[in-house]
Symmetry: C2
Subunit: 199 residues, 2 copies
């Protein structure tokens, strides 16, 4: 029993360490890209800021672009997780829809602020060629459509417009959150969207 | 009197002719770009389809890019004119707002269909670097904000959200019209947006 567990704990420790190093690499690359522009970031700079050697960095990623795409994939995954958690922590079809709309508005506002950093637009233009972006938009659309189908069945939103059209309306309208001045305005926007969905 | 009018009519005729030739050039360029891709369009092809000589074409435009940008400027101007006409043909603050939201949804649906042509995305990527695009978006925003301010004063839309935020919500939500399957769906979208604006 003891003999069997040591290797497991050891491998978990290694896995956790690798995960931490990887996170530090992604954070360093994103920070450097936002500060100095994507084209000026080097592997040496990333290793330096992450506190590892260049040789170690190359064991994780082949080049700067791969690091930045991995950072962006992590951002997308984190946003999808936030939406799923918002849904799962609410009770009832209407509350789940409200929670997801608000959370998505806040996520898009934060992303919009990131894009408005000095080199944010350049970074955004690079990562948005990533096929993961279209895939994530599809996932958000499907999440919204399922919530809207449930909410329509519960009488909380209108049933006279197909759920796919309602979901497209929600996603498009919430994109305005990228430019709102604060979290309160993002929540007001979610309120407008919700009012549009009412029967 | 007669002597004075002849030159005026003559100059008007020339002006009308120049306008017609210019329109034919723009239509030809846009058609060729949509069919074969922007990069493959030549000045000779444009002249041929417009039914004029190459030398005449060069009196109007120096190169293909200039023709395509002029075509896009004409598109933008036509869209802004349609919105202004929709506003001016309706009576009362609420009717004006409804007319402009519906018209904008239909304009964006048509533009979206154009973008989905085989070479539409390439053409869109080129013309959207035109500073006129951001300027036109600002004009639409201001048009919507003024209508919303009047409609809020008339009690037709909510007054608890600043008109600038309402206008941003409208423009963002209506952008979903680019992908709707038909004009009916575009009008349903305008209806959702309007419902969100209600007090």
């Amino acid at each position: 029993m003891y003999d069997a567990e040591v290797p497991k704990l050891w491998s978990e420790t290694i896995e956790a360490h690798r995960h931490e190093v990887r996170d530090a690499i992604l954070d360093s690359a994103a920070g450097l890209a936002a500060e100095n522009g994507l084209l000026s970031v080097t592997m040496s700079q990333i290793a330096g800021r992450a506190g590892i050697g260049r040789a170690t960095l190359y064991k994780y990623f082949p080049d700067v672009q791969a690091v930045v795409l991995a950072w962006h994939d992590r951002q997308i995954a984190a946003h999808l997780t936030r939406l799923a958690e918002a849904r799962d922590h609410a009770d009832g079809a209407e509350a789940r829809l409200v929670a997801v709309l608000e959370t998505y508005a806040l996520v898009l506002r934060r992303r919009g602020r990131h894009h408005r950093q000095p080199h944010g637009a350049e970074l955004a233009a690079f990562v948005h060629r990533d096929p993961r972006v279209a895939q994530a938009e599809r996932q958000v659309h499907d999440l919204l459509r399922d919530l809207l189908t449930d909410a329509a069945a519960a009488g909380a939103v209108r049933a006279d417009v197909p759920p796919d059209e309602l979901a497209a309306y929600c996603a498009a309208a919430l994109s305005a959150a990228a430019d709102v001045p604060g979290d309160d305005a993002a929540r007001r926007l979610a309120g407008l969207v919700l009012a549009g969905l009412r029967a």
